[in-house]
């Protein structure tokens, strides 16, 4: 489904700002991959580059989604292909209601794919169902998007969008940051209920904690812009126990060698 080959990326217009230094990764249909790494490893950058954030530019390598390169595509075009990014810090958008915005998102996708737009009635029904499923306070979604939401409410709102948009590949960028255990469990339940042989996930996280609830098929350790180790769920437990120190030391030794 997703193939990343030798991906290098930098911050736009800043010299010597390379953050991703040659990433190779392959995510098959139905798989859940966890990307773990210390602060500054580039894991959040990777999530954003995959979705096409304009602050970064790809300087080398390629990313394909279902066989086609996506690096020239705008973020909305990637979304239309079935990609989704749950944000670490979802934007607060005054005056824009979640309902209105999600309807616009679905309409845009339908239009891009030459499909029929969902009627307002059907959309309302779907929306209400998902609001209940995700457990968002219904009065909250009548307010401006994320404005005045707590950290947990923002993440729940990200899950609502995930549920409504039903992407083929969902990338979760440190969705666990700032969440208490109850909120974490709700997010994890949302993700788990959406796991299917047709849908893949990339879960970016600093801590192993989230992976207690969302069991990954593959775990990657990202250090200084490179994947330094790939393994099964046991790798996450190792990190939980030993931290990232050995990887950082190895990376430092490699850089000095």
């Amino acid at each position: 489904m997703l193939e990343i080959n030798n991906l290098h990326a930098s911050v736009v217009d800043i010299d010597d700002s390379e953050i991703l230094k040659g990433i190779d990764l392959k995510v098959n249909k139905g798989e859940v991959h966890a990307i773990m790494g210390p602060n500054g490893s580039g894991k959040s950058t990777l999530a954003n580059v995959l979705m096409g954030r304009p602050d970064y530019e790809v300087t080398d390598g390629d990313v394909t989604f279902n066989g086609d390169s996506i690096i020239e595509l705008a973020p909305d075009q990637r979304a239309h292909l079935g990609m989704f990014l749950a944000f670490q810090y979802p934007a607060e958008i005054p005056g824009v209601r979640p309902w209105q915005f999600l309807k616009a998102a679905l309409d845009s996708k339908a239009e891009a794919r030459g499909e029929e737009k969902m009627s307002v009635r059907n959309f309302s029904k779907l929306f209400d169902e998902k609001v209940e499923a995700v457990g968002i306070n219904p009065t909250l979604v009548k307010r401006s998007l994320n404005e005045g939401f707590s950290g947990g409410e923002k993440k729940r709102n990200e899950m609502l969008q995930l549920e409504v948009l039903q992407p083929a590949l969902a990338i979760l960028d440190e969705t666990d940051s700032g969440l208490d255990v109850d909120a974490l469990r709700i997010v994890a339940e949302g993700v788990n209920s959406m796991r299917s042989p047709e849908r893949s996930f990339i879960v970016v996280t600093h801590y192993q904690r989230l992976l207690n609830y969302i069991e990954p098929d593959v775990v990657h350790i990202l250090v200084k812009g490179k994947i330094v180790k790939t393994g099964g769920p046991e790798l996450a437990l190792e990190v939980e126990k030993d931290g990232y120190k050995t990887y950082l030391d190895a990376a430092a030794a490699g850089a000095n060698a």
Binding site: P90, I93, L102
Partner: protein
């Protein structure tokens, strides 16, 4: 005399003034003398210029107005269908229609609501209705301001609205000022006098539109008197054609425990000024002045907003939002004056702008002049671009860039649009906004800058 007039500018209006004065020989003496005084004030002032030291016009060049020719007293036809298609309308409202400065009973929709007098100003003057003699020109006309002086020199017809003591009107009262289809470039001085009695309550909608497509010059003057305990919810809709000059003035005098709340929606004209001054003249008065302005092309919109706290225990709030594109220009000049005796005053002042193009310019001058010592006041002004992170967020959900920008602009306007509560009015301003956003976006070039 403080400012030398441009003789041509005064000259331009002189012939019309003379002929208007001779045509209105039958006016009551007090009105004739009011006009004469006002004309002499205007003759001294002339049209304002940008000359140094003239802070009020520092950012606004009226040369195009001074250079243009306008006729006075032009009239033409307007049909009810045309007016309904151009202005907000609800049959339940009492609507007074003023075409080319004259009240038109056949186009107005008046229900004979108890406690409400609404209709022609010239009739109210002739009949000596209510407080018209004491009130007309007493708030606007005695000051050294060219456009109120000019308007007062030409006082003729217009609209008169009076709400009897203790009357709480269920439905809004609208006054529509419209120019007829006649495409002659005319000068008009629409006048509205509102007398809200003690403990009365009214929703007042003031609408300025054109049927004419040519350049018009309009200097409307609205005077509002709020007697003790009166509550006035005012809306001002200005969407004249984009060749026109709109120099509007609103003056409000508030007595004790009155509430005046106004929201303006300003999208029209080539050069437009909304000059509004409220005097909080007795304890417990509160005044809220809000508005949304949108400009594109070479439009200019000025908000000249001032509130004077003259007595203790009053509160005021000024809050404006602007969306600017193309090579347009907006000015927010907000002033709050708290006089020495006005202790326990509360005042807020804010102007937020969204700039969609490099060529657009906002000059924001929020100012507080506080002479009392026990006052709570805050002010601020910002100008920003559409936020890049927010745009990415929307795009990542599949909304294309243009639609995402439109959603963000609409979101910025939303809180002001929500203030337009009467349903037909709300639908009207939302529709105009939704139609205007693509126009603004077509002239936009700064989106995506952080």
């Amino acid at each position: 005399m403080t400012l030398a007039s441009t003789p041509a500018a005064v000259e331009k209006f002189a012939a019309a003034y003379e002929s208007h004065a001779s045509d209105s020989a039958s006016s009551p003496e007090w009105l004739k003398s009011l006009r004469q005084q006002a004309w002499s004030t205007f003759s001294e002032l002339g049209l304002p210029t940008k000359r140094r030291g003239n802070e009020l016009w520092k950012y606004t060049n009226l040369q195009p107005l001074a250079a243009a020719d306008f006729e006075f007293g032009i009239t033409g036809t307007a049909s009810l269908d045309q007016i309904k298609a151009t202005a907000p309308w609800d049959d339940a409202w009492n609507t007074v229609v003023v075409v080319d400065g004259n009240f038109h009973a056949e186009l107005s929709n008046l229900h004979g609501t108890a406690g409400l007098t609404a209709g022609s100003l010239v009739e109210a003057i002739a009949n000596g209705t209510g407080n018209v003699e004491q009130q007309l020109g007493s708030l606007a006309g005695q000051e050294d301001y060219a456009f109120t002086a000019l308007s007062t020199a030409f006082i003729d017809d217009g609209a008169y609205v009076a709400i009897a003591d203790g009357t709480e009107l269920e439905h809004p009262v609208q006054v529509v000022f419209v120019t007829s289809e006649n495409n002659a470039s005319r000068a008009s001085y629409p006048r509205l006098l509102v007398d809200a009695g003690a403990n009365s309550s009214v929703v007042l909608i003031e609408t300025h539109v054109n049927l004419a497509e040519s350049a018009q010059f309009s200097a409307p003057v609205v005077e509002i008197f709020a007697d003790d305990g009166a509550s006035i919810r005012h809306y001002r809709v200005q969407m004249e054609n984009e060749s026109s000059f709109h120099l509007g003035t609103t003056r409000i005098a508030q007595q004790g425990d009155t509430d005046f709340t106004s929201t303006s929606f300003a999208v029209g004209a080539s050069i437009a000024r909304n000059d509004i001054h409220t005097l909080l003249d007795a304890p417990g008065a509160s005044c809220t002045l809000h508005g949304l302005y949108m400009t594109h092309g070479a439009q200019q919109q000025d908000q000249e907003i001032s509130t004077t706290h003259a007595k203790p225990g009053c509160s005021s709030d000024q809050f404006y939002k602007g969306i600017l594109s193309g090579k347009s220009h907006a000015v927010f000049s907000g002033k709050v004056i708290v006089k020495r005796d006005a202790q326990k005053s509360e005042a807020g002042q804010k102007d937020l702008n969204l700039l969609l193009s490099r060529g657009a310019e906002i000059d924001a001058k929020p100012s507080l002049e506080i002479y009392a010592d026990d006052v709570v006041a805050a002010h601020g002004a910002t100008a920003g671009h559409v936020d890049r992170d927010t745009l990415f967020y929307l795009q990542s959900r599949g909304v294309d860039e243009e639609a995402a920008k439109a959603i963000l602009i609409r979101g910025f306007a939303e809180e002001m649009l929500n203030e337009f509560e009467p349903e037909a009015l709300n639908e009207f301003v939302e529709k105009v906004t939704d139609e205007r956003i693509p126009v603004l976006l077509a002239e936009s070039d700064t989106i995506g800058t952080a």
